[in-house]
Amino acid sequence: MDMKREYFEDVRIFTSGAVLFWFVVLIIGLVAIPRVLPNYYVYMANYMAINVIVAIGLNLLVGFTGQISLGHAGFFAIGAYGTVVLMSLAGFPFLLALAVAALIAAIFGFLIGFPALRLEGPYLTIATLGFGLTITLVIGKIELFGGRNGLHTPPLTVFGWHLESDKDFYYLLIPITVLLAWFARNLIRTKVGRAFVAIRDADVAAETMGVNLAYYKTLSFAVSAFYTGVAGGLYAFVLRFIEPELFSLVMSITFLAYIVVGGLGSIMGSITGACLISWLDLQLRNILSIPYLGEWLKSLSQNYFSITGVSNIQYIVLGLIIILIMIFEPLGLYGIWIRTKKYWMTWPF
């Protein structure tokens, strides 16, 4: 079905007319969302778009380069705090502050990439995990950053355009998301992307073929951190308030869950995974108000569990989804999609 006859077919960005068509439909749909849906859904879309950026960035590192990171909440925090502090204290305009903060995150990513040259498996996990925890703690101790009390974001103006509502912000956020997704899709089709994949599949073999491990591993960390930093800067303006406790280990784990559920090593998978999990996250926060299921859960909690801890069901659901996906479909939602497509392509047979 997907037979490629020449190199240029393999590296085309739209592999077929159908893909191009659906892409155009998607863009039109994205433009239309704030015009047809109520405000809460726009907020939800903003939240999803930010997680999509993180998921794409993390997938470049974990899915394509094969390095584990449990410290992405740290990069996210750097992006968020960097943007807000640069704007409110140094008076930077928003886009410049966002770019500089993301670059700072990228520099940190580059530095974390150095231990990664020698470490693998659990050793790398603990190094990145330590980074994430340290960043949160250090930020919480700096008075300039508001310490434990957190920071409010300054009013947002882009080229003289005052963004006040979620809808305004949506029109700033979505182009950035699409652009970054587009860039990631392009990146993996180039020499750099192929080097990442080669490192994931066999780093020693890649090195003997002439892939500079030191360069590409640190680059992968830096690019991933840049994406996460951008997402962090934008996230601050969705919440309009940031505090160190937000950027916890649970957040890093949730980021990993996005790409695992969506599919490792696929941009499309990152997008679907991030959308699904963040949607579930928002829905499960008020699980008791879901019709029927909520009533049943309420009586269950009153009889056997505690009613105060009912919001923790979201942990159970998230954990269950992760486990089921890993056991039954290690390639995630993207793997399910590929299988379905293959099945229906040759359907009667």
């Binding site: 603990i126 703690l137 280990l249 979201q314 890993m326």
Partner: protein
């Protein structure tokens, strides 16, 4: 000088709980190469189970503890049997993700059942009793933790060296295929490994709960235990214990002399530095992967 002595003592005391968690993680990593992030929550579930037996069902203390260990054994074995064994062609990342999933589920269940509030665990010894050794204070509870931790370590040492099951576990770890040819049921061994590791973790949980009992109580110990295990090389039991005590002591000395606020993160900074020099930890040989 007295301060220094006191800090070392506190470091050893806190090191004991890290050591138990580190041992639990190393036992699993050695046999199955799984970094078990659910270790802390397995201990959490066992501790809350004990808490439930003691407060709601009026079990005597001994009976509750014995049931807790049985529960821990069963929990570990069931998790391995029902989840880990079902994973198709697992790689390292996949296994880590699965254990994180288990962690979330256990955490969710415990905090759904008992709420997020802090509870008081009815332990026979109050955490405020203390004895003085040469002017430095050592709480009774810490002393008991230390004794129990050392006891468990010695027990594990003899278990792995002399018992049939322990030797079968070592054989499975060294060469699973050869072990199976020699008639060892490697899958069953794996299940028991999880059970035993869960029991070791449960000990840590039961020793922490008198001081602090809430759903997130095991996170710090689990992360520090994991760090200690990594510091010790992830595959060596004595290494894990040594790593745990080194970590505990360094942490307390740093807290005493430099800054109490950054006490809990200095551990990670040290580990990253040590790993840069010795990428496989202090006590394990570094294998360079070949194609």
């Amino acid at each position: 000088m007295l301060d220094f002595f006191q800090m070392i003592l506190s470091g050893i005391a806190v090191g004991s709980s890290y050591a138990l968690m580190a041992l639990a993680m190393v036992i699993i990593y050695k046999t199955s190469e799984v970094v078990n992030f659910a270790q802390g929550e397995m201990a959490l579930a066992s501790s809350y189970f004990t808490f439930m037996l003691l407060t709601s069902y009026g079990f005597s203390f001994i009976a509750a503890f014995i049931s807790a260990y049985l529960f821990a054994l069963l929990l570990g074995a069931v998790l391995e049997f029902a989840i880990l064994r079902r994973a198709k062609e697992p790689n390292l990342l996949g296994l880590i993700i699965i254990t994180i999933g288990m962690e979330f589920m256990l955490l969710g269940f415990v905090s759904w059942k008992f709420g997020a509030d802090q509870q008081i665990f009815p332990f026979p010894i109050s955490p405020y009793d203390s004895i003085s050794i040469g002017g430095a204070f050592f709480s009774m509870l810490e002393l008991i933790s230390l004794v129990i931790a050392i006891f468990i370590m010695v027990l594990l040492f003899f278990f792995f060296r002399y018992s049939k099951l322990g030797m079968a576990m070592k054989a499975t770890q060294q060469n699973p295929v050869a072990a199976r040819i020699m008639g060892i049921r490697t899958k069953r061994i794996m299940m028991l490994t999880w059970g035993i590791s869960s029991m070791v973790g449960c000990t840590a949980g039961l020793l922490i709960s008198p001081m602090l009992m809430e759903p997130f109580m095991m996170w710090d110990s689990m992360l520090k235990g994991f760090s200690s295990a990594v510091l010790g090389g992830m595959t060596s039991l004595p290494g894990a214990v040594a790593g745990a005590y080194i970590l505990g002591i360094i942490e307390n000395l740093f807290g005493g002399y430099v800054s109490i606020e950054f006490k809990s993160v200095v551990a990670f900074a040290i580990i990253v530095l040590i790993l840069c020099v010795k990428p496989s930890g202090l006590f394990a040989r570094h294998y360079v992967k070949k194609l």
